[in-house]
Structures are given as C-alpha cells and as structure tokens.
Symmetry: C2
Subunit: 225 residues, 2 copies
C-alpha cells in the first residue's frame, strides 16, 4: 500500500514560494486502479512524481509498504523504482536517437533481466507498434511515441504502473486499447495509478480522485463501469 | 487559399520506403476553421507540416495563395512562415531554459515587431498564464507548457494558425477556453487548421477532414455546432 500523510510541495520561484500541494493525505491499496483528475496546474504530476519516488515532498510523510520513504537510501529507492514501478511520463521521456526497440529494452537492462529483445518486441506488439520497432522518436508520430513510452513501462512486469496522461496523444480507439491493457494488468493484481483529463478514460479505473489547487476535493469509486 | 494536388510523402527507412501520404488533393479557403482527424499514424502531422512549409512533399503540388510553394526560395518561405503563420506543435517545441515570457516574445523578435513584451504578456494572459510568465518549461505543468506554445502562435497576428493537437494536455474547461480563442480568431477572418483527436474539440471548427492510412476518407461541414 502507498500512504501519504499531509504531504506538501513548495517550489521556490524568484521572490516567493509557490505551494503546489497543500496537505495530501491518501491511501492507495494494492490492486486498485486509480484515476487522478483535475485542472491543469492542480498538482497531479507533482503528486504522481512523489508517489513514484522521483521527487520528495517538502513536508509530510510517505509510507511505501509500511516503510517511511524518506528513510530509504537512494540505492534502495532506485531499486524500488527499477523493479517495482513502471512509468509513463507526460512528456514520454524517450531518448532522442534511440530506436523504439532499444527504448523498451532499456529498463530491463538496468534490472538485469533476460530475454530483453523478446519481451520488448512483445510489449511493442501489445501497443500496436510491431511495424515501428526500428523507428527513432523523430520517425514516429506523437501517438506512436506515447505508445513506445507505454510499452517501456510494462516490460519489467511492474507491481505499480504510474501513467501520467497515457492517452493524451491517442485517438479514441487506440486509447481504449491502452485501457484494455491497463485493465488486464489490474485484473492480474497490479496497481495502476493514472492521471487523465478524459472522463471516458477515467471510467476504466475503479476509483477517481480529484485534485484542485493542490488539494483533494473528491475521492470515490467509479460507478457504472 | 491553400491547395494541394496529389501530394505524397514517402520516408526511406532502412530497407524499404514508407509512403505516409498517398495522394492528398485538398483546398482550404481563407477564413475556414478546419479540424483534421484520424487514427494515430494516419499522416495528420506529416500533412500539417507540409501545409505549414516546414517540410516538402515527395511528389505533388502545393499552391499557397496561387504560388507554387516549390518555386519559392527558402528566404521567401521563411518569411511566409514567420509573418503569416502561427504554429502550435504537437510536442510544444519550447526552448528548455527559457521563461514563458521569452518563449512568446521570440517569434516577434524574428519578425522585428515592436511592443514585444506587452504583446507577449497579453497573449499569456489570454491563455490564463499571467502568473507563470517567469517559469521555465521544467517549472510548468504539461498543460501550462501547451498553453505557452499556443500563446506563442498568436503573437505575430498570424493569417493562418496551424494547431497540432492543441488541447491534448488540457482539462476540459481550459480546452474550451482555447477553442474560444480560436473561434475569435476565425471570426476575425483568420484561417485555423487544427489537428485533434477529440470530437468535442473538432465541433468548434466549421469543417472536418478525416485521414486514414495516408488518404482523406471524409470531408464535410460541422453540423449542429
Ligand atoms: N521521419 C520519419 N521517418 C519515417 N517514418 C515517419 C517519419 N515521420 C513520421 N513517420 C511515420 O509516418 C506515419 C505518419 O506520421 P504522422 O506524424 O503524420 O501521424 P499522425 O497522424 O500525426 O499521428 P498521431 O495522431 O499519432 O500524432 C507514422 O506511421 C510514422 O511512423
Ligand atoms: N519546478 C517547478 N518550479 C516551480 N513551479 C512548478 C514546478 N513544477 C511545477 N510547478 C507548478 O506547480 C503547479 C502544479 O504542476 P503539476 O505539473 O503538478 O500540474 P498538473 O496538475 O500535472 O497539470 P497538467 O494537467 O497541466 O499537467 C503548476 O502551477 C506549475 O506551474
Ligand atoms: Mg501534469
Ligand atoms: Mg500527429
């Protein structure tokens, strides 16, 4: 389980402090499929990055499977991220001169996994990109780049997938195909934490949490999926 | 008016040629608000880039206000882009270590315009970013970066705005505010050519053109806007 207690995040910008998260207290249990929604600038990515151990809160506590994250060493944190988490970043974060196949192999390289090429091909096929494996990012459409990012998040068989706007660049049909993948992962017991602006997409989750101005204003189950 | 006659685009990738546009013949008249839709990878951005003189077709003709674009010098093309066109790129294309205010001032610098700071502030205010002018891209949310890109497309008072997925990173309310801006521009006589995956967004246009596998499969007015 992931639990944050009164997490705040403040950025220092020039003359003043900008408090972006204003006391987030939340529990996410294993096996949930969470959709985080809210206006642009409301703190979703900031909070997601904290949950994914890519950033630290300014104040407050974050417990990951009972461990206080602030007490974990950087090595331990990197290990958790590499072995347990899969990330789909809002900006995709692909390497500029790297083929789709290599992009997807990369997390496995860090994790020392075997069968890297086979698994990368499987993941790319799963997101409909079998015919684009040798393309570099500047040879891929926007939606194709996004899907490479999604494939990359899947290959280490993560316990938790963090997906920040995973369908923003996708047409409706491809978006729903990606949601099928996430629902399959969730049916296998994996936890999926997704940020989305699209109601149709959020409805694939089991629980919706709404942010506004750095606070949670709504938290409840998805009805009528 | 913009007119393409049997435009194709072929990329050479390793062992074979990938034909992405397979003969696009299309007229776009001044004052139209076009929404281009279609599945991921169907050639929308490729075609948009040709219309915006950022790329050239492999074969076929492109007439811009009666002039054969292939006969225009590079200087002339750059002048047309800088003075007449505004671009919202699918990947935003912001400069990494540059404030929002500077990003938006930049096209005016190239065009030799006056009152750059004032106009940039106006454009940023118009997209709801008055309070983020001094933020660099890594200090902006995804949707805020997109809006900086939109503000930048407006400041040279373009005759034609090319907007490639301008609302993909925006929440619904902010998306509709951006559509209000584009409708205002259109009401002033400007031409807007937008790629979008979202039906709600496309309905703000006056005409929808659908791509599939590099061809136009549908072209008609928006009814019941
Ligand atoms: N430089 C390139 N080299 C090789 N193939 C390319 C190149 N640029 C694009 N492609 C391919 O051309 C096709 C069309 O790309 P394009 O970016 O026009 O699609 P799109 O319709 O904008 O898709 P999306 O909705 O995902 O943004 C894609 O299949 C892509 O892989
Ligand atoms: N490094 C930073 N320095 C200063 N301000 C920042 C920084 N990162 C984010 N912000 C600000 O914090 C706020 C929250 O950003 P965040 O990326 O969490 O928003 P978001 O909810 O993901 O929005 P979007 O839907 O547009 O992606 C924004 O107003 C943004 O300008
Ligand atoms: Mg975000
Ligand atoms: Mg595109």
């Amino acid at each position: 389980v992931l639990e944050t207690t009164d997490v705040t995040k403040t950025y220092k910008t020039g003359n003043f402090d900008l408090t972006v998260l204003k006391g987030i207290t939340l529990q996410i249990h294993a096996g949930e499929f969470i959709a985080i929604m809210g206006p642009s600038g409301s703190g979703k990515s900031t909070y997601m990055n904290i949950l994914g151990c890519l950033d630290r809160p300014t104040t407050g506590k974050y417990y990951l499977e009972g461990d206080d994250v602030s007490r974990l060493s950087d090595d331990r944190l990197a290990e958790v991220r590499n072995r347990k988490f899969g990330f789909v970043f809002q900006s995709f974060n692909l390497l500029p001169r790297t083929t789709a196949l290599r992009q997807v192999e990369l997390p496995m390289l860090y994790a020392g996994a075997s069968n890297r090429e086979e698994r990368a091909k499987w993941a790319l096929n799963r997101v409909g990109l079998s015919d684009r494996m040798d393309h570099k990012p500047n040879q891929l459409s926007g939606g194709q780049q996004q899907r490479v990012s999604i494939a990359r998040s899947l290959v280490n068989d993560p316990v938790i997938v963090f997906a920040d706007e995973p369908t923003g660049a996708l047409d409706t049909r491809t978006s729903f195909e990606i949601m099928d993948i996430f629902q399959e992962l969730n049916a296998e017991g994996k936890t999926v934490i997704m940020v989305t602006h699209e109601n149709d997409i959020a409805r694939h989750a089991t629980r919706i949490i709404r942010f506004r101005d750095g606070e949670i204003v709504e938290d409840g189950p998805v009805l009528d999926r």
